[in-house]
Structures are given as C-alpha cells and as structure tokens.
C-alpha cells in the first residue's frame, strides 16, 4: 500500500466561490456580507444575489402553507362530520389554520435554536468518505465549518473526493485525505496517527465504510465476497472503534464515535444479503457493550449509532431487482437528505457530550407512513421499468437540481418528533375543546 498522505490547505485560487452553498447558515460565516459588499461595488452582480435571496425567502413555502391549509381542513371537516360544532365549520377551520401556522412557524424558525453548536470547529474523520453517504456526511460537516478527514481504500478515490468536495462547498474549507483499508490494523493505525497529527485532535469519528457484497443469495455469493463483507463491516468497525477510543481517551476533550447501522441491525432477517445483515446486527449490539467500558465512562468518549435508513447509493443498488426498486421509491432517500438529518444531530451530541445515542432517520412509524403515501412516491427515483429517474450527484449539488436538494435537506434537518407530537396533540385538544363546548351547550 502506498504511503500517500496529503492534506489540503484552503485553496484561494479555487473558483468555486460562485457556487458557494446557500446553506452555510450554521457557520458564523462572512459570505453574505462579502456578497453584499460585492453587490454594492458592482451593481450588475447584484441581480443574481437579490434573486438568490428572493429564492431563499420563498423556497419551500409550499410546506408551511400546506400545513396551514391541511390543519384547517382536518379540524373543520372533523367538526362538521361529527356535528359537534354549532356555528358551522368555519370556526374550527380558523382554529386549525391558526394552529397550523403556529407550528409551521415554529418548525421553520424555531428548530435551529434546538441544535447546540460546538464552541469550536470539530475535527472529523469519515471512513469510506469518498462516495455515497460518507461523502454526503463529509460535505455536511464541511458546510457546518468543521475540519474533515476522509478515507477510502484507494488513493485516487480520496484525491477525487477531496477535489469534488472543495468544488461543492467552497475553497475556504479544511479537508484532508488518507487512504486506509479499515480491515487492516496497521492501516487503521496509520489513519489515526495521520489524522491526529494533521488536525491536532479528533473530536468525531464516523465509521461509515461498509460493503454489502451485492444483492444475491447467500448460496450464490462467493466465499471471498462474504469474507470481504465481514472484514470491512464488522472487523473494520471494531478496529476503527478501538483505535479511535484509544486516541480519544487520551484527549482532554474526549471524543465521539458514530457507527453506521444498517438493515438487520434490529435483528430482523435480511434474505439476499445475509452476511451484511449479520455484521450490522453485531455493530448495533456493540453500542450497549461499549457504554460500560472505562474509556467511555471516565474519559468522556461517546459511542453512538447512526441509522441512515435506506440510502440511494451503490451499496444498495448493486444487484437490485425491479421489485426492489419500487420499494426504493417508497423508502429511499438521497444521501444528501439523510446526511442533512444526521449531521446536525451528531454535532449536537458532540457539543452536549452525550453518551450512547441512537440517531435514526427512518423509524418504523415513518416507514409505515411512507407506505401509506406510496402512490405519491411512485417514479420518484425509478420508473416502472426500473430505470433511474434521478440526477447524478454533481447535478444535484451544483446543477439545476441544487435547490430541490437544498429544500429536501432543510426539511430533513428540521424534522422533530417532539414538535410533530405536540402538533398532533394540539389538534386533538382543539377538537376535544370544541366537542366539550358543544356538549355543554346541548345540555343546559
């Protein structure tokens, strides 16, 4: 294995600043200020800036408006149909609209307050961070202003990913890359040492490297394929976790390790990818065992699990049949969306110094809801013939689809179970109050 190590310094000549993300909001950045100054200096360039601002104001407005209308409709028709409202449906409908707008506003403007931001930029290592979900996670950390070290088995892949990420996020980032085979102890040690020496310390370690061994019967899979699945997923996770724990236990600030779970982590059978499921079940089990380790208790090292659900990456698509693809339409998400959900939560965990968290993107109730709304999701990623309908990664991040990607990502990041629960409870309470009011009027 070659001994290539390279760290990137912020590259001022990079001309990707025009494409600077509109989602730098977490970073105390000066980008808007600079843009404003530029706009004032040359009025011609002000136009795109203004239209961008207008975009941002109206972007995703359909959702809040939808929430207002839907709440009005639900409460109004519920009261009308059950005949509990004396004064027609308009009163309850207005009440629903008020509730809906209240929660829409809370969701849109209040959610950011719930995230605790780390005091200083985090130093993050993402294994398998050169494509798919790992790359999306690295990008999301970079956008939040953190310093990221990506790793992968091939040097070329690392170099390519670093260049792409610099293009996508902007030149003012710190990104490093080291090639590493997670199933080799020596290679993992080299990554740990390299990351620690280049970044100073490691605050967050994401064990993302994984291999599915393609979608096929266990009996047809070659022994070598099974071997690679076991070594990459389970052994790789153990070796990386151990290396990171050793390092973090010696750091005054401690650190946080996030393992990726996957299908099978809940103990349910995973036919057609049996080896993958078994390794992921093991990884999810580690969480409880490691919590009791002295490194986690004394030295403030947190071990956590991230559950990305189904993500539309090569790992999932290898060998998938047409029936699978229809399921993917319903349950899958693009890696950017999932990363936008996971990363702010992981950063909050690191900022608060929590222990043993399990962050899940696709929970069982959510999966069920998606199946109920399945017709709305037809042809989302694949058409009926199983041909892909989605844009390539670069197109989604930098091209015409960028705004849609941003919108989906922002919605995923804002998701809150507590808020959803409070909203449902409020609607139910409103209905109960109206019903009680009607009943007291009926029986004098």
């Amino acid at each position: 294995m070659s001994k290539t190590k390279f760290a990137a310094k912020p590259d001022a000549s990079n001309q990707a600043s025009k494409k600077q993300s509109t989602r730098n909001r977490d970073m105390p950045d000066k980008a808007p200020l600079e843009k404003l100054q530029k706009a004032l200096a040359s009025p011609k360039k002000a136009l795109p800036f203004l239209s961008e601002a207008a975009d941002r104001a109206t972007d995703g407005l359909h959702k809040p408006i939808g929430l207002v209308l839907a709440s009005a409709h639900i409460l109004g028709s519920a009261c009308l149909l059950s005949g509990v409202s004396m004064g027609g449906a308009w009163g309850p409908a207005a009440m629903g609209a008020v509730l809906g707008s209240l929660y829409a506003a809370l969701n849109r403007f209040g959610m950011k307050r719930f995230w605790r931001m780390p005091h200083a930029p985090l130093n993050v290592v993402v294994t398998g961070g050169t494509k798919g979900l790992g790359k999306a996670i690295a990008r999301e950390f970079l956008r939040s202003g953190d310093r990221v070290m990506v790793s992968s088995r091939s040097v070329q892949a690392v170099r390519k990913a670093m260049n792409e990420l610099r293009d996508e996020v902007g030149p003012a980032i710190w990104i490093g890359g080291i090639d590493c085979d997670v199933s080799s102890p020596a290679s993992v040690q080299r990554l740990t040492d390299g990351a620690a020496s280049q970044m100073g310390s490691i605050d967050v370690w994401i064990n993302n490297a994984g291999f599915s061994g393609s979608f096929q019967s266990f009996l047809d899979a070659s022994p070598e394929q099974i071997q690679e699945v076991v070594q990459t997923n389970l052994l790789g996770c153990l070796l990386c976790t151990r290396a990171a724990m050793r390092l973090m236990a010696a750091q005054p600030r401690g650190g946080h390790i996030f393992n990726m779970d996957g299908a099978g982590a809940d103990g349910l059978p995973t036919p057609q990818y049996a080896a993958y499921g078994a390794t992921k079940a093991g990884i999810a089990h580690l969480l409880g065992s490691l919590k009791a380790e002295p490194a986690c208790q004394r030295a403030r090292v947190g071990v956590h699990c991230l559950s990305p659900g189904m993500v539309l990456t090569n790992l999932l698509l290898e060998g998938a049949s047409d029936t699978n693809k229809q399921i993917f339409n319903i349950l899958c998400e693009q890696p950017e969306t999932v990363a936008a959900f996971l990363v702010p939560r992981a950063r909050t965990v690191a900022a608060r110094g929590e222990a043993g968290r399990y962050i899940r993107f696709l929970t069982l109730p959510r999966a069920l809801l998606r199946f109920i709304a399945a017709p709305l999701r037809a042809n989302r990623f694949f058409n009926a013939d199983g041909e892909p309908m989605y844009a390539a990664e670069r197109e989604r991040i930098l091209g015409q689809r960028a705004r849609r990607t941003e919108r989906l990502a922002a919605a995923a990041a804002r998701r809150s179970r507590n808020l959803a629960f409070a909203y449902s409870a409020s609607l139910a309470t409103a209905y109960a109050i109206i019903a009680a009011d009607t009943l007291t009027h009926l029986t004098p």
Binding site: Q227, R242, A275, A278, G282, S289, L290
Partner: protein, 337 residues
C-alpha cells in the same frame, strides 16, 4: 394443537411407510399444508427431497470439536450411536482427540465412529474441502453443528484487545459460521434426506450488553440474525430439505468462560449459572436428535428453526434466587472469597 382427523390419518400413514409417494395427498382437503412438498416433488428429480426420511443413527459434523462443548457433544453423539466428524485448526489436537474418543467408542457398546481433520473455518478453501471430506467419509451429512468459536480466551475492554484477538474472534465466530453454513447447505441440498444445521449462540445473542467481551457479543448477536436470514432465504429458494437452527449452551465451564473468572461478580455468576460441558451436552444432544423427527411430524415445516436453550431465563433466575436464599452452588467451580 388439535389436527383434523384426515390430516392426522395422513401423517400416521406417512410415518408408517418408509418410502412414500404423495399421490393421495394431492387430493387431500388440506392442500395448503402439503403444497410445498408437492412442488418439491414435481420440481425435483423424482425423489422426495424433503428430509423426512432422516433416521438415526445420524452422521454428525461438529466444528471445533476438540475442546469444551464441542468435544462433549461429540462424545455424547458417539455414546448414543451416531457417527461423528470433528475438526479444529490444530492438527495434533484433532488426532489426539480422535484417538481418545475412538478409544471411548471401542469400549462403549453400540457407539458410533469418529473421524477428524484439521481445518481453519475462516479459510474458504479449507472449509469446502472439510465438507467434502465429511460427506465422503460419512456418506451423508445429517447434522452439522457450527460450534467453533472464540473470544481470544481473554476478558478485556475493547481498547485493550490486541489486533490478533479481534481478527481471530471475528473470523472464527462470524466468518467461520457463515462458511460452515454455506458448505453444509451445499452438501445437504443434494442429499435426498437433506439435513439440519445448528449454530451455537453465546452471550450477547439475546441483545444484552456484553462489556469486557464486546467483540464476542457482537459476533454472537450477528449469528442469531444470520440464522433467521438463512431460514428466509432457503424458503425463498424453495430448498425445503435443509433446516437452520440455534443452540444455546448457556454458561459452560470451558476455557472460554473460565478465562474471565477474575472478578467477584464473574465468580458469582460462574458458580451460580455455569455447568460442566458434559451436563450441557447430555441435555442438548437428545434435543438435537429429536429435531429431524419433529420436523417430520410438523407437516413439512423443515424451514422453521428451533432454538434449543440449555440455560433459559427462568432457570437462570431460579438458580440465582436459590443461591441468594440458600447459598446453593457457592464455591462450586471457583472459590469466591
């Protein structure tokens, strides 16, 4: 469960004749029950590939059969008359174990034969040739027990574990069992009588945390999930002459467990809950041998796994309670104070 009279008659009829062609069954009112068999028969090569003609004495393969539970299982199977093939990584240990157990089966009346071969279960080539060796020397492989397992014989935190230990644990427990299952299925699916595969579970299999042996627990948790996946796959592929099952030996006083008898809590639980391998084997073997017979009477449900547990939750709590109330089992294996 109460069965309809017709069904019961059919089952009785099936049990009474040795070779049985399901002509009558197709016209039976409870067609659904036999649907899978009927399909297998019509799709097969003219033989019933349902694994129902499996008769004792069985031909048994036990991986890692030179120590601890594996060795005790081998001895018990021999005692009741089955033929056994064992393997282990160490060639010398295999030959000495085979010699010893062979001596035992010479003395014991009606005992079976034993053979052995060195095999590293984590090496694909090794496992394939071991499976072929077992088939060639036994004729058929009826029961295959994936027993080989390791925790490095150390109880340490993950940060203190060595590279070699982690690699050994993951490869022996997970990869070894996977390759064992794969080769066993390959051999069994071509046998007219099919066969049954048993995977050994261990601490952590139920999802409880396993501090001090995190890697071991994670591998065992994975294996339980693997059994379920394989059952589902065999069903999908319509291979209904191979059964996948789990064995839970509980706590056994082998090197694997005794390496951890260095804290007061560990000593308490070892004395309280553990049992010697011979006792565990004497409990497990008759239940393992009943699995082929049971799947014969349960209407062809060979794809459904059984989970044979030595130390059930209730039994464990009972023993802890007895210990706390009467002091039973104190200082049984290791002195406590």
């Amino acid at each position: 469960m109460e069965q309809p009279v017709v069904l019961r008659n059919i089952i009785n009829a099936r049990q009474s004749c040795t070779f049985y062609y399901p002509r009558r069954r197709r016209s039976a009112p409870h067609k659904g029950v036999y649907m899978r068999q009927a399909e297998a028969v019509s799709g097969g090569i003219g033989l019933t590939r349902s694994g129902k003609d499996l008769q004792p004495p069985y031909n048994v393969v036990i991986t890692g059969g030179t120590k601890g539970v594996g060795r005790a299982l081998a001895r018990e199977f021999l005692r009741v008359g089955d033929n056994v093939v064992i393997c282990s990584r160490d060639r010398d240990r295999v030959s000495s174990t085979v010699r010893e157990l062979d001596g035992f089966s010479q003395v014991e009346e009606g005992a079976g034969k034993i053979q052995g071969r060195a095999c590293n279960m984590a090496k694909p080539g090794d496992v394939a040739s071991f499976a072929d060796f077992a088939r060639d020397s036994l004729g058929t492989v009826d029961l295959w027990i994936n027993n080989a397992g390791s925790n490095g014989y150390k109880y340490k935190t993950l940060t203190e574990s060595s590279d070699a230990d982690l690699i050994n644990i993951v490869e022996t427990n997970v990869l070894g069992t996977m390759l064992g299952c794969k080769e066993a299925i390959r051999v069994m699916r071509d046998q007219r009588t099919g066969g049954h595969i048993f995977n050994m579970d261990g601490a952590g299999a139920d999802g409880d945390a396993t501090p001090r042996f995190a890697a071991y627990g994670a591998t065992k948790r994975g294996l339980v999930q693997l059994s379920k996946s394989l059952q589902a796959e065999l069903k999908m592929l319509n291979i209904n002459n191979v059964g996948i099952h789990n064995l839970s030996p509980g706590m056994v006083t082998t090197d694997l467990l005794m390496a951890g008898a260095d804290t007061a809590t560990a000593k308490f639980f070892i004395n309280c809950l553990a049992d010697p391998p011979e006792e565990v084997a004497a409990y497990l073997v008759p239940r393992i041998r009943r699995v082929p017979l049971d799947s014969r009477t349960l209407g062809g449900a060979i794809g459904q796994g059984t989970y044979i547990k030595y130390l059930t939750k209730g039994k464990a709590y009972g023993q802890i309670l007895a210990r706390l109330l009467t002091g039973a089992r104190k200082d049984r294996f290791v002195p406590e104070d």
